[in-house]
């Protein structure tokens, strides 16, 4: 069975500091990984996906199959990055997403 683990429930950094939100997954096949974000009083929305290899709002994430990780990184955090971040996995067995427990990022001024 597939599983997504986000070891940190809360991550607090100062504005301008680098940030890394950790995500590890377990799945024996070829995974598709995503990061979703939920800002305060807004709906859950896609931030980025590994197949696009894109940078969104300064965030990047690289899939490391050897370490089964998909950590989300940003070199200089901004206050508006404060939100709940979820790592998600989609397997070939179906189209549903398996989510991690989420990490709340707080960026302090």
């Amino acid at each position: 069975a597939q599983r997504v683990t986000q070891p940190e429930k809360l991550l607090s950094v100062f504005k301008g500091a680098p940030v890394e939100l950790k995500c590890n997954y377990s799945y024996s096949g070829s995974p598709e990984l995503f990061w979703y974000v939920q800002y305060s009083r807004q709906r859950l929305q896609l931030l980025l996906r590994h197949i696009s290899r894109e940078s969104i709002k300064g965030f990047t994430a690289d899939l490391n199959k050897g370490e089964t990780s998909f950590h989300l990184k940003k070199p200089f955090a901004q206050e508006e990055d404060s939100a709940m971040y979820y790592c998600a996995l989609r397997t070939g067995a179906g189209n549903m997403l398996t989510f991690g427990g989420g990490t709340r990022l707080m960026v302090k001024p």
Binding site: E32, R43, L44, Q45, L46, R49, I51, S52, Y86, R90, G94, N95, M96, L97, T98, F99, G100, G101, G102
Partner: protein
Amino acid sequence: GAGVSQSPSNKVTEKGKDVELRCDPISGHTALYWYRQSLGQGLEFLIYFQGNSAPDKSGLPSDRFSAERTGGSVSTLTIQRTQQEDSAVYLCASSLAGIGGSDTQYFGPGTRLTVL
């Protein structure tokens, strides 16, 4: 354009009552998903509809939960004989095709269910 909408936004019910939660997907989206967001369990998949295919019900936690999708559009999630552990935010999402790595799921605002 209009996104995924859900109603009601909040629902308070008594233990043992039945509830119905509604989801209106984005027009033209063939795939529809229900997830549950609760304090103890995080975000869990419940059920997935793709076009006219039989739904994937593998995430439904018990036979008290059921869902249908009428006319390939609106979906209703029904919880019978509600229990306190059913209290959660129920999220609906839809996507254009439901297949392929580029398919994006768009989420609704959720229905917050409280079972007293």
